[in-house]
Amino acid sequence: MKDVIVTEKLTKKYGNVTAIDCLDLKVHAGEIYGFLGPNGAGKTTTIRVLTTLTKPTSGRALVNGFDVVNESDAVKKVIGVVQQHVSLDRDLTVRENMEFRARLHHLGSSERKKRIAELLDYVELTEEADRQVDTLSGGMKKRAMIVSSLMHSPKVLFLDEPTVGLDAQTRRRLWDLIRRLHLDGTTIFLTTHYIEEAEALCQRVGIIDQGRLIDLGEPLELRQRLGLVTVETLVNNKETHYQYFADRAAATSYVQNLPPEAKTVIIRDSNLEDVFVELTGRKVGAD
Protein backbone atom coordinates (compact mmCIF):
# COMPACT_ATOMS: atom_id res chain seq x y z
CA MET A 1 0.00 0.00 0.00
CA LYS A 2 1.33 3.41 -0.97
CA ASP A 3 2.20 5.76 1.88
CA VAL A 4 1.00 9.30 1.20
CA ILE A 5 2.57 10.84 4.29
CA VAL A 6 5.95 9.68 5.56
CA THR A 7 8.01 11.29 8.29
CA GLU A 8 11.45 10.14 9.38
CA LYS A 9 12.85 11.27 12.71
CA LEU A 10 10.90 14.50 12.30
CA THR A 11 11.79 16.98 15.02
CA LYS A 12 10.66 20.53 15.71
CA LYS A 13 12.10 22.59 18.54
CA TYR A 14 11.08 26.06 19.69
CA GLY A 15 14.07 27.18 21.72
CA ASN A 16 14.43 24.61 24.49
CA VAL A 17 10.94 23.20 23.96
CA THR A 18 10.67 20.11 21.78
CA ALA A 19 7.25 20.12 20.12
CA ILE A 20 7.90 17.06 17.91
CA ASP A 21 10.50 14.53 18.92
CA CYS A 22 11.90 12.11 16.30
CA LEU A 23 8.44 11.38 14.90
CA ASP A 24 8.12 8.49 12.44
CA LEU A 25 4.76 8.35 10.65
CA LYS A 26 3.36 6.44 7.72
CA VAL A 27 -0.12 7.30 6.46
CA HIS A 28 -1.54 5.01 3.78
CA ALA A 29 -3.27 6.29 0.67
CA GLY A 30 -7.02 6.54 1.05
CA GLU A 31 -7.21 6.02 4.82
CA ILE A 32 -8.48 8.25 7.60
CA TYR A 33 -5.54 8.44 9.96
CA GLY A 34 -6.36 9.74 13.42
CA PHE A 35 -3.72 11.60 15.33
CA LEU A 36 -4.80 11.48 18.92
CA GLY A 37 -3.26 13.28 21.82
CA PRO A 38 -3.77 15.80 24.59
CA ASN A 39 -3.48 19.54 24.10
CA GLY A 40 0.15 20.50 23.59
CA ALA A 41 1.15 16.97 22.49
CA GLY A 42 2.47 18.20 19.14
CA LYS A 43 -0.52 17.50 16.88
CA THR A 44 -0.89 20.99 15.45
CA THR A 45 2.87 21.44 15.07
CA THR A 46 3.00 18.18 13.10
CA ILE A 47 0.23 19.45 10.82
CA ARG A 48 2.03 22.80 10.41
CA VAL A 49 5.20 21.01 9.31
CA LEU A 50 3.33 18.67 6.95
CA THR A 51 1.43 21.59 5.41
CA THR A 52 4.62 23.64 4.82
CA LEU A 53 3.78 26.31 7.39
CA THR A 54 6.64 25.47 9.73
CA LYS A 55 10.14 24.33 8.94
CA PRO A 56 11.26 21.23 10.87
CA THR A 57 14.40 21.46 12.98
CA SER A 58 15.61 18.08 11.74
CA GLY A 59 14.41 14.90 10.08
CA ARG A 60 12.25 14.91 6.99
CA ALA A 61 8.66 14.70 5.90
CA LEU A 62 7.22 13.64 2.56
CA VAL A 63 3.68 14.27 1.36
CA ASN A 64 2.66 12.39 -1.77
CA GLY A 65 6.37 11.73 -2.30
CA PHE A 66 7.40 15.40 -2.12
CA ASP A 67 9.69 16.81 0.55
CA VAL A 68 7.86 19.50 2.58
CA VAL A 69 10.95 21.71 2.71
CA ASN A 70 12.66 21.25 -0.65
CA GLU A 71 9.54 20.65 -2.75
CA SER A 72 7.03 22.73 -0.84
CA ASP A 73 5.31 24.03 -3.99
CA ALA A 74 4.54 20.48 -5.13
CA VAL A 75 3.26 19.64 -1.64
CA LYS A 76 0.99 22.73 -1.62
CA LYS A 77 -0.67 21.56 -4.82
CA VAL A 78 -1.80 18.23 -3.35
CA ILE A 79 -2.90 19.21 0.13
CA GLY A 80 -6.04 20.77 1.55
CA VAL A 81 -6.01 22.09 5.09
CA VAL A 82 -8.82 22.79 7.51
CA GLN A 83 -7.33 24.54 10.48
CA GLN A 84 -8.61 24.40 14.04
CA HIS A 85 -9.69 28.05 14.00
CA VAL A 86 -11.84 29.71 11.36
CA SER A 87 -9.29 30.60 8.71
CA LEU A 88 -11.73 31.96 6.15
CA ASP A 89 -11.87 35.66 5.39
CA ARG A 90 -14.78 36.67 7.59
CA ASP A 91 -15.63 39.74 5.52
CA LEU A 92 -16.18 37.69 2.39
CA THR A 93 -19.05 35.37 1.52
CA VAL A 94 -18.70 31.60 1.39
CA ARG A 95 -18.67 31.74 -2.41
CA GLU A 96 -15.99 34.46 -2.44
CA ASN A 97 -13.82 32.47 -0.05
CA MET A 98 -14.14 29.44 -2.30
CA GLU A 99 -13.34 31.50 -5.36
CA PHE A 100 -10.29 32.93 -3.63
CA ARG A 101 -8.93 29.44 -2.85
CA ALA A 102 -9.64 28.39 -6.44
CA ARG A 103 -7.75 31.41 -7.77
CA LEU A 104 -4.76 30.66 -5.53
CA HIS A 105 -4.72 27.18 -7.04
CA HIS A 106 -4.97 28.50 -10.61
CA LEU A 107 -8.39 27.12 -11.51
CA GLY A 108 -9.85 28.73 -14.63
CA SER A 109 -13.04 30.79 -14.53
CA SER A 110 -15.48 28.15 -15.80
CA GLU A 111 -13.83 25.41 -13.73
CA ARG A 112 -14.11 27.63 -10.65
CA LYS A 113 -17.82 28.21 -11.12
CA LYS A 114 -18.53 24.53 -11.76
CA ARG A 115 -16.50 23.35 -8.78
CA ILE A 116 -18.03 25.92 -6.42
CA ALA A 117 -21.57 24.86 -7.39
CA GLU A 118 -20.68 21.16 -7.02
CA LEU A 119 -19.05 21.56 -3.63
CA LEU A 120 -21.71 23.85 -2.21
CA ASP A 121 -24.24 21.20 -3.14
CA TYR A 122 -22.01 18.47 -1.67
CA VAL A 123 -22.06 20.09 1.78
CA GLU A 124 -25.56 21.53 1.49
CA LEU A 125 -24.45 25.13 1.68
CA THR A 126 -25.88 26.36 -1.61
CA GLU A 127 -28.44 28.56 0.13
CA GLU A 128 -25.78 30.10 2.36
CA ALA A 129 -23.30 30.69 -0.47
CA ASP A 130 -23.74 34.44 -0.57
CA ARG A 131 -23.78 35.01 3.17
CA GLN A 132 -20.78 36.61 4.83
CA VAL A 133 -18.78 34.03 6.78
CA ASP A 134 -19.12 36.05 9.97
CA THR A 135 -22.90 35.51 9.93
CA LEU A 136 -22.75 31.69 9.71
CA SER A 137 -23.15 29.23 12.57
CA GLY A 138 -20.11 27.30 13.83
CA GLY A 139 -21.05 24.15 11.91
CA MET A 140 -21.63 26.07 8.67
CA LYS A 141 -18.27 27.79 9.05
CA LYS A 142 -16.57 24.41 9.39
CA ARG A 143 -18.36 23.06 6.32
CA ALA A 144 -17.41 26.21 4.43
CA MET A 145 -13.80 25.71 5.50
CA ILE A 146 -13.86 22.11 4.32
CA VAL A 147 -15.29 22.93 0.89
CA SER A 148 -12.86 25.83 0.47
CA SER A 149 -10.00 23.44 1.14
CA LEU A 150 -11.38 21.03 -1.47
CA MET A 151 -11.50 23.50 -4.36
CA HIS A 152 -8.38 22.09 -6.03
CA SER A 153 -9.32 18.42 -5.35
CA PRO A 154 -6.45 17.71 -2.94
CA LYS A 155 -5.11 14.19 -2.56
CA VAL A 156 -4.54 14.66 1.17
CA LEU A 157 -6.83 16.57 3.49
CA PHE A 158 -5.56 17.73 6.87
CA LEU A 159 -8.28 18.28 9.43
CA ASP A 160 -7.03 19.86 12.64
CA GLU A 161 -9.59 19.32 15.39
CA PRO A 162 -12.44 19.71 12.89
CA THR A 163 -15.30 19.43 15.36
CA VAL A 164 -13.91 21.30 18.34
CA GLY A 165 -16.52 23.57 19.90
CA LEU A 166 -19.43 22.14 17.89
CA ASP A 167 -22.60 20.62 19.33
CA ALA A 168 -23.19 16.85 19.08
CA GLN A 169 -25.63 17.08 16.16
CA THR A 170 -23.35 19.30 14.07
CA ARG A 171 -20.41 17.09 14.92
CA ARG A 172 -22.19 14.04 13.55
CA ARG A 173 -23.08 15.87 10.33
CA LEU A 174 -19.40 16.70 9.91
CA TRP A 175 -18.46 13.09 10.54
CA ASP A 176 -20.79 12.09 7.71
CA LEU A 177 -19.08 14.61 5.45
CA ILE A 178 -15.64 13.28 6.41
CA ARG A 179 -16.78 9.71 5.69
CA ARG A 180 -18.06 10.79 2.28
CA LEU A 181 -14.74 12.44 1.47
CA HIS A 182 -12.99 9.25 2.47
CA LEU A 183 -15.28 7.14 0.29
CA ASP A 184 -14.47 9.49 -2.60
CA GLY A 185 -10.80 8.50 -2.20
CA THR A 186 -9.30 11.40 -0.24
CA THR A 187 -6.62 10.53 2.29
CA ILE A 188 -7.51 12.24 5.55
CA PHE A 189 -5.11 13.13 8.34
CA LEU A 190 -7.25 14.06 11.30
CA THR A 191 -6.11 15.37 14.64
CA THR A 192 -8.52 15.25 17.51
CA HIS A 193 -8.69 14.94 21.21
CA TYR A 194 -12.23 13.56 21.02
CA ILE A 195 -11.94 9.83 21.59
CA GLU A 196 -15.30 8.99 20.05
CA GLU A 197 -14.34 10.93 16.93
CA ALA A 198 -11.20 8.89 16.41
CA GLU A 199 -13.10 5.67 17.08
CA ALA A 200 -15.97 6.58 14.77
CA LEU A 201 -13.91 7.75 11.83
CA CYS A 202 -10.38 6.44 11.72
CA GLN A 203 -9.00 3.24 10.19
CA ARG A 204 -5.79 3.70 12.15
CA VAL A 205 -4.94 5.85 15.12
CA GLY A 206 -1.54 7.14 16.14
CA ILE A 207 -1.27 8.29 19.73
CA ILE A 208 1.10 11.16 20.33
CA ASP A 209 2.30 12.47 23.64
CA GLN A 210 5.04 15.03 24.30
CA GLY A 211 5.93 15.03 20.62
CA ARG A 212 6.44 11.26 20.38
CA LEU A 213 4.31 8.57 18.76
CA ILE A 214 3.65 6.21 21.62
CA ASP A 215 1.30 3.73 19.95
CA LEU A 216 -0.26 3.01 16.59
CA GLY A 217 -2.92 0.69 15.32
CA GLU A 218 -6.57 0.18 14.39
CA PRO A 219 -8.90 1.34 17.18
CA LEU A 220 -10.03 -2.23 17.86
CA GLU A 221 -6.44 -3.50 17.80
CA LEU A 222 -5.38 -0.86 20.35
CA ARG A 223 -8.28 -1.79 22.61
CA GLN A 224 -7.55 -5.50 22.22
CA ARG A 225 -3.98 -4.95 23.34
CA LEU A 226 -5.29 -3.35 26.50
CA GLY A 227 -8.35 -5.54 26.99
CA LEU A 228 -11.79 -5.10 25.45
CA VAL A 229 -13.63 -4.91 28.76
CA THR A 230 -12.98 -2.43 31.55
CA VAL A 231 -13.96 -2.78 35.19
CA GLU A 232 -14.18 0.45 37.16
CA THR A 233 -14.06 0.02 40.91
CA LEU A 234 -14.45 2.73 43.53
CA VAL A 235 -12.25 1.85 46.47
CA ASN A 236 -13.00 3.43 49.90
CA ASN A 237 -15.14 6.11 48.19
CA LYS A 238 -11.89 7.77 47.13
CA GLU A 239 -10.24 6.47 44.06
CA THR A 240 -11.45 4.71 40.94
CA HIS A 241 -9.39 1.73 39.89
CA TYR A 242 -9.46 0.42 36.33
CA GLN A 243 -8.82 -3.15 35.32
CA TYR A 244 -8.86 -4.47 31.77
CA PHE A 245 -9.94 -7.90 30.55
CA ALA A 246 -10.05 -9.76 27.28
CA ASP A 247 -13.76 -10.55 27.62
CA ARG A 248 -16.83 -10.14 29.85
CA ALA A 249 -16.45 -13.58 31.44
CA ALA A 250 -13.01 -12.68 32.79
CA ALA A 251 -14.28 -9.29 33.96
CA THR A 252 -17.29 -10.82 35.73
CA SER A 253 -15.12 -13.37 37.47
CA TYR A 254 -12.84 -10.57 38.70
CA VAL A 255 -15.82 -8.58 40.06
CA GLN A 256 -17.20 -11.59 41.93
CA ASN A 257 -13.92 -11.91 43.80
CA LEU A 258 -13.61 -8.23 44.77
CA PRO A 259 -13.22 -7.39 48.48
CA PRO A 260 -16.28 -5.85 50.25
CA GLU A 261 -14.73 -2.30 50.45
CA ALA A 262 -14.83 -2.07 46.64
CA LYS A 263 -18.20 -0.36 46.30
CA THR A 264 -19.30 0.94 42.95
CA VAL A 265 -18.47 -1.40 40.14
CA ILE A 266 -18.98 -0.68 36.47
CA ILE A 267 -18.33 -3.15 33.71
CA ARG A 268 -18.11 -1.56 30.28
CA ASP A 269 -16.38 -1.81 26.91
CA SER A 270 -12.95 -0.26 26.96
CA ASN A 271 -12.25 2.70 24.68
CA LEU A 272 -9.33 4.60 23.24
CA GLU A 273 -9.30 6.89 26.23
CA ASP A 274 -8.49 3.89 28.41
CA VAL A 275 -5.69 3.05 26.01
CA PHE A 276 -4.42 6.59 26.16
CA VAL A 277 -4.57 6.86 29.95
CA GLU A 278 -2.72 3.60 30.36
CA LEU A 279 -0.06 4.69 27.91
CA THR A 280 0.48 8.19 29.20
CA GLY A 281 -1.03 8.42 32.64
CA ARG A 282 -3.08 11.40 31.43
CA LYS A 283 -6.61 11.88 30.12
CA VAL A 284 -7.03 12.90 26.50
CA GLY A 285 -7.76 16.60 26.29
CA ALA A 286 -6.01 17.33 29.59
CA ASP A 287 -3.25 19.93 29.50
Binding site: L53, Q83, H85, L104
Partner: protein, 253 residues
Amino acid sequence: MPTSMVNALSDIYSVLWVDLRFLRRHWLRTLATSLVNPILYLVAFGYGLGSGISFDGYSYLAFVMPGIIALTAMSSSYGGAGLKLHVDRLFYKCFDEYLMSPISLFSLAIGKTLIGVVRGLISTVAILAIGVVISNEMMVTPLFVIVLVTSCFVFSFLGVLVGLWAKSHQDLGTFSTLVILPMTFLSGTFFSLSQLPEAVKAVLYMFPLTHSSQCLRAAALNQPFPWMSFAALLCFGLAFFAGCMWLLKRTSV
Protein backbone atom coordinates in the same frame (compact mmCIF):
# COMPACT_ATOMS: atom_id res chain seq x y z
CA MET B 1 4.86 37.10 -22.47
CA PRO B 2 6.66 34.17 -20.73
CA THR B 3 4.39 31.73 -18.84
CA SER B 4 6.14 32.39 -15.53
CA MET B 5 5.36 36.10 -15.84
CA VAL B 6 1.72 35.40 -16.75
CA ASN B 7 1.44 33.11 -13.70
CA ALA B 8 3.05 35.73 -11.45
CA LEU B 9 0.63 38.42 -12.68
CA SER B 10 -2.31 36.08 -12.25
CA ASP B 11 -1.18 35.27 -8.67
CA ILE B 12 -0.72 38.96 -7.88
CA TYR B 13 -4.26 39.62 -9.05
CA SER B 14 -5.58 36.66 -7.01
CA VAL B 15 -4.03 38.14 -3.86
CA LEU B 16 -5.32 41.60 -4.69
CA TRP B 17 -8.78 40.26 -5.61
CA VAL B 18 -9.66 39.40 -2.00
CA ASP B 19 -8.78 42.87 -0.76
CA LEU B 20 -10.63 44.48 -3.66
CA ARG B 21 -13.76 42.54 -2.67
CA PHE B 22 -13.34 43.85 0.87
CA LEU B 23 -12.84 47.38 -0.44
CA ARG B 24 -15.89 47.13 -2.68
CA ARG B 25 -17.99 46.10 0.30
CA HIS B 26 -16.65 48.85 2.57
CA TRP B 27 -15.66 51.57 0.09
CA LEU B 28 -17.63 54.40 1.65
CA ARG B 29 -16.37 53.75 5.17
CA THR B 30 -12.80 53.28 3.90
CA LEU B 31 -12.85 56.50 1.90
CA ALA B 32 -14.51 58.53 4.63
CA THR B 33 -12.09 57.42 7.35
CA SER B 34 -9.05 58.01 5.16
CA LEU B 35 -10.17 61.54 4.34
CA VAL B 36 -10.91 62.78 7.86
CA ASN B 37 -7.28 63.46 8.81
CA PRO B 38 -6.21 65.27 5.62
CA ILE B 39 -9.35 67.42 5.62
CA LEU B 40 -8.75 68.35 9.26
CA TYR B 41 -5.14 69.26 8.44
CA LEU B 42 -6.31 71.26 5.45
CA VAL B 43 -8.80 73.22 7.52
CA ALA B 44 -6.55 73.68 10.56
CA PHE B 45 -3.27 74.45 8.78
CA GLY B 46 -4.35 75.62 5.33
CA TYR B 47 -7.22 77.86 6.36
CA GLY B 48 -6.66 78.31 10.08
CA LEU B 49 -3.02 78.88 10.90
CA GLY B 50 -1.86 79.51 7.36
CA SER B 51 -4.41 82.00 6.07
CA GLY B 52 -2.70 85.22 5.02
CA ILE B 53 0.80 83.67 5.08
CA SER B 54 2.79 83.30 1.88
CA PHE B 55 5.63 80.83 1.44
CA ASP B 56 8.37 80.89 -1.23
CA GLY B 57 6.09 83.18 -3.28
CA TYR B 58 3.04 80.90 -2.97
CA SER B 59 0.04 81.05 -0.68
CA TYR B 60 0.40 78.78 2.35
CA LEU B 61 -2.56 76.76 1.07
CA ALA B 62 -0.72 76.05 -2.20
CA PHE B 63 2.43 75.23 -0.20
CA VAL B 64 0.77 72.87 2.25
CA MET B 65 -1.54 71.08 -0.21
CA PRO B 66 1.14 68.82 -1.81
CA GLY B 67 2.38 67.98 1.70
CA ILE B 68 -1.11 66.95 2.74
CA ILE B 69 -1.41 64.84 -0.40
CA ALA B 70 1.88 63.13 0.47
CA LEU B 71 0.60 62.62 3.99
CA THR B 72 -2.65 61.11 2.67
CA ALA B 73 -0.68 58.82 0.36
CA MET B 74 1.35 57.70 3.36
CA SER B 75 -1.49 57.07 5.80
CA SER B 76 -3.87 55.44 3.31
CA SER B 77 -1.26 53.25 1.66
CA TYR B 78 0.46 52.25 4.89
CA GLY B 79 -2.80 51.54 6.71
CA GLY B 80 -4.50 50.02 3.67
CA ALA B 81 -1.74 47.50 3.12
CA GLY B 82 -0.63 46.85 6.68
CA LEU B 83 -3.61 46.82 9.00
CA LYS B 84 -5.75 44.12 7.40
CA LEU B 85 -2.68 42.01 6.76
CA HIS B 86 -1.73 42.32 10.41
CA VAL B 87 -5.23 41.33 11.60
CA ASP B 88 -5.49 38.49 9.06
CA ARG B 89 -2.07 37.19 10.08
CA LEU B 90 -2.28 37.39 13.86
CA PHE B 91 -5.95 37.31 14.79
CA TYR B 92 -7.96 35.61 12.04
CA LYS B 93 -4.95 33.54 10.93
CA CYS B 94 -6.26 33.48 7.38
CA PHE B 95 -2.90 34.71 6.11
CA ASP B 96 -1.73 31.09 6.47
CA GLU B 97 -3.96 30.28 3.48
CA TYR B 98 -1.65 32.29 1.24
CA LEU B 99 1.42 30.55 2.64
CA MET B 100 -0.12 27.12 2.04
CA SER B 101 -0.99 27.88 -1.58
CA PRO B 102 1.33 27.42 -4.56
CA ILE B 103 1.94 31.12 -5.24
CA SER B 104 5.33 32.77 -5.06
CA LEU B 105 6.32 35.01 -2.15
CA PHE B 106 7.03 37.76 -4.71
CA SER B 107 3.42 37.61 -5.97
CA LEU B 108 2.16 37.59 -2.39
CA ALA B 109 4.23 40.65 -1.42
CA ILE B 110 3.23 42.62 -4.52
CA GLY B 111 -0.44 41.60 -4.28
CA LYS B 112 -0.62 42.72 -0.67
CA THR B 113 1.19 45.94 -1.57
CA LEU B 114 -1.16 46.79 -4.43
CA ILE B 115 -4.22 47.12 -2.21
CA GLY B 116 -2.35 49.82 -0.28
CA VAL B 117 -1.50 51.53 -3.56
CA VAL B 118 -5.13 51.38 -4.71
CA ARG B 119 -6.40 52.78 -1.40
CA GLY B 120 -3.68 55.43 -1.33
CA LEU B 121 -4.55 56.56 -4.84
CA ILE B 122 -8.30 56.68 -4.17
CA SER B 123 -7.77 58.86 -1.08
CA THR B 124 -5.19 61.14 -2.68
CA VAL B 125 -7.27 61.64 -5.82
CA ALA B 126 -10.19 62.72 -3.60
CA ILE B 127 -7.96 65.19 -1.70
CA LEU B 128 -6.33 66.28 -4.94
CA ALA B 129 -9.75 67.11 -6.38
CA ILE B 130 -10.44 69.32 -3.37
CA GLY B 131 -6.96 70.88 -3.69
CA VAL B 132 -7.33 71.73 -7.35
CA VAL B 133 -10.67 73.41 -6.65
CA ILE B 134 -9.46 75.50 -3.69
CA SER B 135 -5.97 76.36 -4.94
CA ASN B 136 -5.42 77.43 -8.53
CA GLU B 137 -1.63 77.55 -8.01
CA MET B 138 -1.32 73.74 -8.00
CA MET B 139 -0.63 71.76 -11.18
CA VAL B 140 -1.07 68.05 -11.71
CA THR B 141 1.81 67.22 -14.04
CA PRO B 142 2.90 63.75 -15.25
CA LEU B 143 5.85 64.03 -12.86
CA PHE B 144 3.42 64.73 -10.01
CA VAL B 145 1.47 61.56 -10.88
CA ILE B 146 4.68 59.50 -11.07
CA VAL B 147 5.80 60.73 -7.63
CA LEU B 148 2.34 60.13 -6.20
CA VAL B 149 2.20 56.53 -7.44
CA THR B 150 5.79 55.94 -6.28
CA SER B 151 4.93 57.31 -2.83
CA CYS B 152 1.91 55.03 -2.58
CA PHE B 153 4.13 52.04 -3.41
CA VAL B 154 6.78 53.07 -0.88
CA PHE B 155 4.33 53.49 2.00
CA SER B 156 2.41 50.40 0.99
CA PHE B 157 5.63 48.36 1.12
CA LEU B 158 6.19 49.87 4.57
CA GLY B 159 2.67 48.81 5.60
CA VAL B 160 3.24 45.23 4.42
CA LEU B 161 6.63 45.19 6.16
CA VAL B 162 5.16 46.33 9.47
CA GLY B 163 2.10 44.08 9.05
CA LEU B 164 4.42 41.09 8.66
CA TRP B 165 6.81 42.16 11.40
CA ALA B 166 4.42 43.13 14.22
CA LYS B 167 3.84 40.35 16.72
CA SER B 168 0.97 42.12 18.49
CA HIS B 169 -1.34 45.13 18.35
CA GLN B 170 1.05 46.83 20.75
CA ASP B 171 3.90 46.50 18.23
CA LEU B 172 1.75 48.19 15.63
CA GLY B 173 0.81 50.97 18.06
CA THR B 174 4.43 51.46 19.08
CA PHE B 175 5.53 51.77 15.46
CA SER B 176 2.77 54.26 14.74
CA THR B 177 3.68 56.38 17.77
CA LEU B 178 7.44 56.27 17.32
CA VAL B 179 7.70 56.47 13.53
CA ILE B 180 4.46 57.37 11.74
CA LEU B 181 3.36 60.18 14.08
CA PRO B 182 6.71 62.08 14.09
CA MET B 183 6.96 61.53 10.34
CA THR B 184 3.50 63.07 9.91
CA PHE B 185 4.42 66.35 11.52
CA LEU B 186 8.16 66.67 10.91
CA SER B 187 8.62 65.74 7.26
CA GLY B 188 8.24 69.19 5.79
CA THR B 189 4.55 68.58 5.24
CA PHE B 190 3.44 71.76 6.98
CA PHE B 191 6.65 73.83 6.88
CA SER B 192 9.73 74.32 4.76
CA LEU B 193 12.85 72.40 5.76
CA SER B 194 14.99 75.27 4.50
CA GLN B 195 14.32 77.09 7.79
CA LEU B 196 15.84 74.30 9.89
CA PRO B 197 19.44 73.75 11.08
CA GLU B 198 21.47 71.28 8.97
CA ALA B 199 21.65 68.66 11.75
CA VAL B 200 17.86 68.61 12.16
CA LYS B 201 17.44 68.52 8.39
CA ALA B 202 19.74 65.50 8.17
CA VAL B 203 17.55 63.63 10.66
CA LEU B 204 14.33 64.57 8.86
CA TYR B 205 15.73 63.36 5.53
CA MET B 206 15.70 59.89 7.07
CA PHE B 207 11.90 59.93 6.73
CA PRO B 208 10.55 58.84 3.33
CA LEU B 209 7.67 61.29 3.73
CA THR B 210 10.16 64.18 3.65
CA HIS B 211 11.27 63.15 0.17
CA SER B 212 7.73 62.45 -0.96
CA SER B 213 6.54 65.90 0.20
CA GLN B 214 9.46 67.68 -1.44
CA CYS B 215 9.02 65.90 -4.77
CA LEU B 216 5.25 66.40 -4.86
CA ARG B 217 5.60 70.07 -3.91
CA ALA B 218 8.21 70.71 -6.59
CA ALA B 219 6.13 68.92 -9.22
CA ALA B 220 2.88 70.65 -8.22
CA LEU B 221 4.32 74.15 -7.96
CA ASN B 222 6.60 73.87 -11.00
CA GLN B 223 9.79 74.29 -8.92
CA PRO B 224 13.16 72.67 -9.77
CA PHE B 225 12.61 68.94 -9.23
CA PRO B 226 14.66 67.34 -6.38
CA TRP B 227 15.87 64.25 -8.24
CA MET B 228 18.01 63.20 -5.29
CA SER B 229 14.90 63.07 -3.12
CA PHE B 230 13.13 61.01 -5.77
CA ALA B 231 16.10 58.62 -5.84
CA ALA B 232 15.98 58.44 -2.03
CA LEU B 233 12.25 57.64 -2.23
CA LEU B 234 12.97 54.79 -4.66
CA CYS B 235 15.70 53.51 -2.33
CA PHE B 236 13.26 53.51 0.59
CA GLY B 237 10.79 51.55 -1.57
CA LEU B 238 13.41 48.96 -2.52
CA ALA B 239 14.57 48.62 1.08
CA PHE B 240 11.01 48.14 2.37
CA PHE B 241 10.26 45.60 -0.37
CA ALA B 242 13.47 43.71 0.44
CA GLY B 243 12.38 43.71 4.11
CA CYS B 244 8.96 42.26 3.14
CA MET B 245 10.59 39.48 1.13
CA TRP B 246 13.00 38.71 3.94
CA LEU B 247 10.18 38.46 6.49
CA LEU B 248 8.06 36.32 4.18
CA LYS B 249 10.97 33.97 3.53
CA ARG B 250 11.61 33.76 7.25
CA THR B 251 7.95 32.94 7.99
CA SER B 252 7.37 30.38 5.28
CA VAL B 253 9.03 27.09 4.41
